[in-house]
């Protein structure tokens, strides 16, 4: 290359290098690079710098090539430069072709991706239920994740990726950052303040649903729900007017409120509404289920009648009835086959922090609701509860029982006055007291669930043990969503390092001192032996 040509080549190279550096710096510091053809980008110094360098670099490289052009042409004509020129072309072509092939192979590997999950807990794979749900989709599912900013929805992309990988083309997703693509929001009809910490919009065919909880369980249940065409959220009516736990408004957030349960229900795509049965003549037609959450006063006989008629008509009912409250529903339940004890459950052996009135139930029945709890050290926490004893041969069966050391104390006077209690086998239910009962009641097989306590559903205890799952599974069962399932990610088994102090010291000494020095000495010996020539014996 001529002198000038070489200079041009170096200048050109410098330009390209600095353009790339600017590009990298922009990416590192600002996180995004404004491309020169976007509006107003050239007013930004960094973009102008980058573009200018790139252009000038290209110009100089071209000039370098052209400055040698006459010489090159001359040599071509003389037949001199032919061979090396051919070599160059050949080599460059080979390189470019090779890179293209490699890129294509890599692209194919990504497009037709195969994954291997080498964890024991299958942390990167979907559960069988999710895989089944994907296989049973009537139409391809499209998920749009709407995130407020880049930090939100941490595990969501990985989760969506798992569905896409298992979906075999039936599941596609895209992630939209709300502030960057407001058009996407308006396309889906979502306002930016509805997004909160992140919202997932699922579309299967013509039906769609939204969820804000990013777990495999929530997503698969949503898929199942949407696939069934259940676009309209099911309405749950909560009885009010008797001091029941608050599920909306400020009181819902208090320790004794029902806010967390209500939020969890809403996330499962249920709509909640207050039911003033005193003023309404009957339970509204559009109710999917009625919830009686811890009334503190008696219901009016009209209300009791309305509820009875509701159940006889096949409607679902969830009752959380506290001890020492005569709600008026007790005789009704008694007729149906579940005896609500006029007692309070005491357990010193299996309770929270030894508090006798805070019993813990670990004995779960084999039922759709509690099936997933068996054998996993699951426990449900209650406070100030009464017994719910299913009658033999009745419609009800016990859902879960307290511990062997529990009993249902009927002599509440004594308990309240002196704080003492003792199991009296003649009066009290002793041992494995049933905490709740479920059953299908009446000619229409209405699903009814009754718990002897409302505190376990209130905010204070909702997140304890399996309370949350217990309640949500009960709700799902009541509404006949047999396919609603509990998927709990299996945690890797906890492990520890059993190193004694001496062992640790030995390890430290070996790793930091001995082994490196051994390697160094070995190297020195080898190097020394190579340096000094061996004396040959002649």
């Amino acid at each position: 290359m001529s002198g000038r040509g070489a200079l041009f080549a170096w200048l050109g190279l410098a330009g390209i290098v600095f353009a790339l550096l600017a590009f990298a710096l922009q990416l590192l510091s600002v996180g995004a690079v404004r491309l020169p053809w976007s509006e107003g980008a050239m007013r930004d110094f960094a973009t102008a710098f980058m573009t200018g360098n790139a252009l000038l670099g290209a110009v100089f490289l071209a000039a370098a090539a052209f400055s040698d052009l006459p010489l090159w042409l001359q040599r071509q004509r003389a037949g001199e430069g032919g061979r090396s020129g051919r070599y160059a072309m050949h080599a460059l072509l080979q390189a470019v072709l090779g890179l293209c092939i490699l890129a294509l192979l890599a692209h194919l590997a990504a497009r037709y991706e195969v994954r291997w999950d080498w964890t024991e807990t299958r942390a990167h794979s979907l559960s069988q239920q999710s895989a089944d749900a994907l296989a049973a989709l009537p139409a391809p599912a499209e998920a749009t994740a709407l995130l407020p900013d880049t930090g939100a929805g941490a595990n969501l992309p990985a989760l969506l990726e798992r569905y896409a990988a298992a979906g075999g083309g039936n599941f596609s997703y895209k992630i939209v950052l709300a502030n960057e693509q407001p058009t996407e929001l308006s396309k889906l009809g979502i306002a930016s303040d509805q997004i909160g910490d992140g919202l997932l919009h699922l579309q299967v065919g013509a039906e769609s649903t939204r969820l804000s909880e990013f777990s495999e369980q929530a997503l698969t249940n949503a898929l199942l729900g949407v696939a069934r065409g259940g676009a309209a959220p099911k309405k749950l009516y909560l009885l009010s007017g008797h001091g029941e736990a608050a599920f909306e408004g400020d009181a819902a957030g208090a320790a004794l409120g029902l806010g967390q349960f209500a939020d969890a229900l809403r996330r499962e795509n249920y709509a909640l509404q207050k039911l003033r049965l005193i003023t309404a003549a009957a339970v509204p037609e559009d109710a999917a289920a009625v919830v009686v959450a811890g009334p503190q006063q008696a219901l009016h006989p009209n209300e009791v009648r309305a509820l009875t008629r509701w159940v006889q008509g096949g409607g679902a009912l969830l009752a959380l009835l506290d001890p020492r409250v005569n709600s008026g529903l007790e005789p009704v339940f008694g007729r149906w086959g579940a005896a609500l004890g006029d007692d309070v459950v005491v357990d010193r052996g299996q309770s929270i922090a030894g508090q006798p009135l805070a019993p813990v139930a670990t004995d779960f029945a084999e039922h759709e609701i509690t099936g997933g709890f068996a054998g996993r050290d699951s426990y449900a926490v209650f406070y100030d509860a009464r017994s719910v004893a299913p009658a033999d041969g009745g419609a009800f069966s016990a859902l879960l029982n307290y511990g062997a050391s529990s009993w249902a104390e009927r002599d509440m006077q004594l308990l309240v006055q002196s704080g003492e209690a003792a199991a009296d086998p003649e009066q009290d239910l002793v041992g494995n007291v049933p905490a709740a009962a479920v059953g299908e009641v009446g000619a229409r097989n209405a699903r009814v669930a009754v718990f002897g306590d409302s505190d376990f559903a209130r905010n204070q205890l909702f997140a304890q043990g399996v309370n949350r799952d217990l309640l949500l599974n009960t709700a799902a069962w009541l509404l006949g969503e047999a396919a609603a399932i509990t998927i709990r990610p299996e945690l890797p088994r906890p492990s520890r390092l059993a190193l004694s102090q001496t062992q640790f010291e030995t390890l430290r000494v070996l790793a930091l001192f001995v082994v490196p020095e051994l390697i160094a000495l070995f190297g020195l010996v080898v190097a020394w032996r190579r340096r000094t020539p061996r004396r040959r014996k002649r």
Binding site: E113, T119, T150, S495
Partner: protein, 268 residues
Amino acid sequence: MRHLGAIAGRELGAYFRSPVAYGVLVLFSLLSGFFFVAQVVQFDGLVQSIPFYEQFYQQPDFGEQINLNDNFIAEYLGVHWILLLFLVPGLTMNLFAGERQHHTDELLLTSPLSILEIVLGKYLATALMVTLLGAVVALLTGITFWFGNPPPEFAKTAAGLLGLWLLALSYAAFGTFTSALTRSPILAFLLCFLVLLMLALASFFAAGAGEGGGGALLALLRWLSTEHHFGQMRQGLLSTTALAHFVFFIAASLLLAKTAVESVRWRQ
């Protein structure tokens, strides 16, 4: 291809005669050992803090979540990218640049060996050295199996070690390329180090920008990001995408190295 072994053997011999290779080995085992010991201390601290989390921070499941794979091995392996970033260019810098410096490259290039054989042979030697480094890490990781109660998951650990090995092989391949570009080993070292560092930083940034956002450019950067794929493998997930990334990186670097070496033949 018959001579591949011969070249690799010659290069390996050169490695074991040179102070650089020993320096790298010693430094690597020292630093890796240091990080291992530090990790033991950190893990112990974490375990000690479990009752604190369980009682005061109301996280009764905290102790259940602490295990050797996620809280020890994954972090210990993760630290090695920076060790390798510094040390692997040191191993590769003399591959071609050193030959040029000592003027033994003409001898090599005029021999009947094909350029591809030479490049692959030299790379193979480096790959073996790098595998030795990987063996050091594997040995130290093995200690957690000996003393772990219960021992960590084998397959998950193996996935992480595989990722580390592939990472090291990728760096070695790129180092081979930069060595073929220049006459000065120091320049080869710096070029390799700086470019790999920039790539790593850019990829951290792409990861930080969130998985799905940012469009095609960031998606490409994420695919190019070794840390992204290595991170996945440390968590026990292997995919053809990740493997393809490493294979692409190695193959592309070696192809470019071959082109660079060949260019002597047509450069004036």
